[in-house]
Symmetry: C2
Subunit: 96 residues, 2 copies
Amino acid sequence: MTTTDKECPMHKTALLLSDPWTMLLMRDLLTGPRRFCDLERSLVGISTRTLTLKLKKLEEERMLKKSKEGTYVITRKGKGLAPVERAMRRYGEKYL
Amino acid sequence: MTTTDKECPMHKTALLLSDPWTMLLMRDLLTGPRRFCDLERSLVGISTRTLTLKLKKLEEERMLKKSKEGTYVITRKGKGLAPVERAMRRYGEKYL
DNA sequence: CGGCATCCTACGCGATACTG
DNA sequence: CAGTATCGCGTAGGATGCCG
């Protein structure tokens, strides 16, 4: 029997990634630090408002942090998403 | 340089999973066929409306199909999500 | 049981304009 | 460059009621 309550690890991860931008943003940061304008350019179509909000939320969740130089850097917790990123990319390549 | 256009596999997968319910629903079906009311019970909090819409959308995308007996069965394309499901679950267990 | 139809609200997000 | 502020809209999704 599966669970969907808030304690379920799948549920929590699903909530974390339940918007189109978060994973795309984290994917970018997995390749290295980025400035605001870098992200704005690679995340084609995102508004400054949304980018600001996502960065703030992910910073609060300690998935990333802002460096002294003003770039956004992924944390250990954020790096943990690498296997998810890989699995999603492979799925897309194979089935979509 | 990363891409965010519609041809990017990551982008397509991210869009597919960009709501809280889809992955939870697919996770359930990965363990076996389910009836409407089974899903309704395990996906705590989902409305019949949303469940109906998600099922319809995922059926159109051929992630699942409805069997003669009325149960929902995952397709090969849907089964391909298993590695993503595993990665997400492990991430939740480890970091969330 | 397995839905479909309606209604209504919340909010995610883009567009735009402005500031340090 | 790196945001913040405001507005306005589309739509995802819950609540409810009805039906074969």
